[in-house]
């Protein structure tokens, strides 16, 4: 088979990336992002996105060229990159030219004049030639980056990624730092602009990361070796120090970062709880449950009904008493769900559980049960947790007074949520290592064989449903007290889908995977509320990319890990 001409392949790459760039424009990203800076007064996020597209066109073309040509000729790599970037720029230029003649806006809402202005750097359609020019340069740089030696390329890539990350979340860092007091506030204003980094900040971050990265690549091996050479006691104390540090950071974090980060972490922790729950039913026992939000809802509603001083509160009992009850109720409902679907397998189970989740939501929000659950008006006035005693009832619609410390702020709930998540993670880990955990995994692998080996399917599956539900119920209980009100509209199918996704993205059956998955899929999007229009677009793209890049998950389960370790050892022995 004759190999493709590398130039033709570069043209193709350029065209494809150009189409992707047009997609990004039409989705509206370029225009919205052009209002945010990466480096203040120098380059906007919108411009950056386009530049990145051209740059990667050059990079991809260059890499492809290397695979097409037998002999490695740097010049052809550079030419390919240039051509690819040029064509990406040409496609965009074509868009501008066509857009100036035809009203594309009749179909695509974002084909605005502002977009064309952004594309031509406010220089008007007449200067559209600037686009292919920039493209060619960016493509050339992209191609050149491939030719850099590894020792330089890695630090530069890391530094670039870090700078973009800091720029993207600059608002968040800035606010957190400003809240620390005037010194930090000055530092913040030095590093961050209103919507991006300052030039100084960019340089500091960029050079800082390069320095650290270079240091690590030179000295990292020594440090690593140093640690391995430590005596056993030394390593143990190192470990203790690390754990102590983790605990210190975890304790201090909400105080430093303020309520928003605390709230985001609470949300993540709630999803960790749900994720750990579903990890039992799905990750361990292999029972696909697409209606997991039901247990979350049941936990939340139980706490709501038991502690609310609103119209639907039954009892004003303390939060601490309501939570165990909520967990038990969720557990019972887990059995209720589990019983009828015991005999249903595979994807039939998925849809049956999905139905269960929807039924719970519909009933909770329905007029029929509104006298009990508030219907669309929800349950409001849920009492905050109180460390100390609660005062007596005065009036039904007035909260009981907390004689002691009221845990009302997100920073307070943070501790409850994080501690719960840690405890539940421990429980899940113990369960996994127990006879029950093995039975679950056996069911996941082969239900019939497990049964033939004496595993009681009914009992084991029911326990999986019940314990999973209990964890989710705990999450729901904390959720209710965090928000202070519950509505059926919070209990959408999307929550269940999120939980399933985070388990798979984290690594099925893996407990640390749940935490990593929750941070990636729940925490990051929460931080991205500012770019709300593109939140789910990016979320969707991330899901696909993660599955393509790491189908086994970000932190695969121990079995996979042990396996890898084993092969490593074997390889070591052979060597």
């Amino acid at each position: 088979m004759k190999k493709e001409n590398f130039l033709w392949s570069a043209v193709k790459t350029g065209l494809i990336v150009g189409v992707v760039a047009i997609f990004i424009c039409f989705v509206g990203m370029v225009e919205v992002f052009s209002k945010r800076d990466v480096i203040e007064k120098l380059i906007t996020l919108g411009q950056f996105v386009l530049l990145a597209a051209m740059f990667s066109a050059g990079f991809i073309a260059s890499r492809h060229t290397s695979s097409l040509l037998e002999k490695n000729k740097p010049v052809s790599n550079l030419v390919a990159g240039l051509v690819a970037g040029l064509f990406t720029g040409l496609v965009l230029a074509l868009l501008v030219v066509v857009g100036a003649e035809v009203n594309l806006r009749a179909v695509f809402l974002n084909a605005t004049t502002t977009l064309y202005d952004v594309l031509t750097l406010d220089k008007g359609v007449g200067n559209v030639w600037i686009l292919p020019l920039i493209g060619a340069v960016a493509g050339l740089l992209g191609a050149a980056s491939l030719l850099l030696p590894q020792i330089l390329r890695r630090p530069i890539t890391q530094a670039l990624v870090f700078v973009i990350f800091m720029a993207f979340f600059s608002g968040l860092f800035r606010v957190v730092m400003i809240n620390q007091g005037s010194d930090m506030s000055k530092a913040a204003k030095y590093l961050f602009g209103q919507t991006g980094l300052t030039l100084e900040g960019t340089l500091i971050f960029f050079l800082g990361v390069i320095a650290v990265s270079m240091l690590w690549s030179y000295k990292g091996k020594d440090i690593q070796a140093g640690v391995t050479r430590l005596p056993k006691a030394g390593r143990l104390s190192l470990r203790v120090i690390v754990y102590a540090l983790i605990a210190y950071v975890a304790l201090g974090l909400p105080q430093v970062s303020g309520p928003f980060i605390a709230q985001v972490i609470v949300t993540v922790a709630l999803f960790v709880l749900m994720g750990l729950g579903l990890n039992i039913t799905l990750g361990f026992a292999g029972l696909l449950d697409l209606g997991f939000v039901a247990f979350y809802a049941i936990g939340a509603y139980t706490v709501g009904l038991l502690t609310s001083y609103g119209a639907f509160g039954l009892q004003h009992i303390p939060f601490w008493v309501a939570v165990p009850i909520a967990v038990l109720v969720a557990m019972a409902s887990g059995a209720m769900l589990g019983l009828p679907v015991l005999g249903i397998r595979g994807d039939y189970l998925a849809i049956a559980t999905l139905g269960f989740g929807e039924i719970v939501r519909l009933l909770a929000g329905s007029d029929f049960l509104a006298p009990f659950f508030g219907g669309p008006q929800g349950i409001i006035g849920i009492q905050k947790p109180c460390l100390g005693t609660l005062g007596p009832f005065i009036r039904v619609d007035v909260p009981r007074v907390c004689n002691g410390l009221e845990l009302g702020k997100p920073q307070d709930i943070y501790y409850i949520a994080v501690v719960s998540a840690v405890i539940i993670a421990f429980v899940a880990w113990r369960l996994r290592e127990s006879r029950l955990g093995r039975a679950w995994m056996a069911i996941r692998e082969d239900e019939d064989v497990a049964e033939a080996l004496g595993v009681n399917l009914i009992q084991t599956k029911l326990l999986a449903y019940m314990l999973g539900a209990a964890f989710a119920g705990l999450g729901g209980a904390i959720f209710a007290t965090l928000i202070g009100s519950i509505f059926a509209t919070s209990m959408q199918l999307i929550v269940s889908i999120n939980v399933v996704s985070l388990i798979i993205v984290g690594g099925m059956g893996s407990i640390p995977g749940v935490i990593v998955g929750a941070i990636a899929l729940i925490g990051l999007p929460e931080l991205l509320r500012e770019v709300s229009e593109f939140r789910f677009l990016l979320y969707g793209a991330t899901l696909i990319i993660m599955m393509l890049a790491k189908p086994e998950g970000l932190w695969p389960s121990q079995a996979t890990r042990r396996e890898l370790h084993h092969t490593e050892v074997e390889a070591g022995v052979k060597a």
Binding site: F23, F26, V27, G28, M29, V107, F108, L109, N110, L282, L288, L339, P340, V341, L342, G343, I344, R345, G346, D347, Y348, A350, I351, A352, L354, G355, F356, E358, I359, L362, L363, S366, D367, F368, D448, N456, I458, Q459, L462, L493, I497, V500, S501, I504, V505, M508, E533, F534, F536, L537, Y539, G540, A541, T542, L543, I544, M547, L548, P551, E552
Partner: protein, 355 residues
């Protein structure tokens, strides 16, 4: 070793609860039905109307369900983005039909004005589905079962919000076809023209699809691939091509469904695919997933249950605002059917190896 008394108690409890559940459901349905009928609130014409409404809704579910079921039959994978493929078809047809309406074409040639957008929607939806398959699914073939599911969920979000970016969060109104306004008299019952057209079109579409799968070479290859990819490959079938054409075919059905849906409900928006997608998936499972006639039966059963159920079962039980719980009925029905037939109405009995 004997079974312990505790275990026997559990067994007893399980079967007791299961049977209790079944009996309760059947009893609730019977009592509700009898009470409703005795109350005599509805005339027989109205009952017929309920069923007709159910059929037209159900035939759209069925059309979307076909795509789910075909892809599942071949890849054992839930194509979560299928509902959004349906949405892309509706959008494509909307823009074409609006333009055609502006030129007066639809009024002068109503049949072509209906067919051309459908064809266009099928092509666009098929194309997008092929693209999605190429990017998000094909590299994952052979990965654990849930990995493609997550990728499909990602694709679903991506499509939804890409279209939201393109066309905004508002709704668009599908242009009306004047020739389809009013009723036809069929066997003495007045039925809306649109509904007749939609139901008939849906059935024709399903018949075409069924004959493609049963009688053409591609169809045979599809069935072969669904039995065993390896064997099919050994027989000289290009498995990749067959999978792609399955996606395209299923998506084309969804695209057509998108147009029919827009004809009845007149609103096109970026989120329109989500609920019908879930419902169609339910319908596919109800009928027995992987089974083409099953998808048709499942869609119709679901549509009719949704339409008739709230009035027939719930009102008699004294439940207020029963239509709010329409979906709850649909899902309860589903669970009940799965309780009696764990692999759907027309599904294969043996599900052991499929999961």
């Amino acid at each position: 070793m004997r079974t312990s008394p505790g275990e026997r108690l559990l067994d007893l409890a399980v079967s007791g609860v299961l049977w209790g559940f079944r009996i309760l459901l059947v009893a609730a349905i019977l009592i509700g039905t009898i009470a409703t009928i005795r109350a005599g609130k509805y005339t027989s014409e109205q009952w017929i109307d309920f069923v007709v409404f159910g059929i037209s809704q159900g035939s759209i579910y069925a059309l979307i369900a076909l795509g789910y079921t075909m892809v599942y039959g071949i890849l054992r994978m839930i194509n979560f983005a299928h509902g959004d493929i349906f949405m892309t078809g509706a959008f494509a047809a909307y823009f074409l039909a609006t333009w055609m309406n502006g030129t007066g074409f639809i009024d002068s040639y109503p049949i072509l004005g209906l067919l051309i957008p459908i064809l266009f929607a099928m092509i666009v939806a098929g194309g997008i589905a092929m693209l999605v398959e190429r990017i998000a699914y094909r590299p994952l073939r052979g990965a654990p079962r849930l990995v493609p599911l997550i990728s499909a969920i990602g694709a679903s979000f991506f499509l939804e919000y890409a279209f939201r970016g393109f066309f905004g969060p508002g709704v668009y109104a599908y242009p009306p076809i004047k020739a389809l306004e009013g009723e036809w008299d069929i066997l003495g019952i007045g039925i809306l023209k649109v509904q007749v057209v939609v139901a008939v079109a849906a059935f024709i579409m399903m018949a075409i699809l069924y004959s493609i799968v049963m009688f053409t070479k591609v169809g045979k290859a599809m069935r072969a691939v669904s039995e065993s990819k390896d064997t099919a490959a050994l027989m000289g079938i290009d498995v990749n091509r067959i999978i792609v054409s399955t996606f395209a075919l299923g998506a084309a059905m969804a695209g057509a469904a998108g147009v029919l849906y827009s004809l009845i409900f007149r609103q096109v928006g970026f989120f329109m695919g989500f609920t019908p997608g879930i419902k169609a998936f339910t319908a596919a499972v109800l009928g027995g997933i992987g089974n083409i006639p099953g998808a048709m039966v499942g869609g119709l059963v679901l549509g009719i249950f949704e339409s008739v159920g709230p009035s027939l079962f719930l009102e008699g039980l004294g439940i207020t605002r029963p239509y709010q719980l329409k979906d709850a009925i649909a899902y309860t029905m589903l669970v009940m059917i799965l309780l009696f037939r764990p692999s759907g109405i027309l599904g294969e009995r043996i599900t052991t190896k499929k999961a």
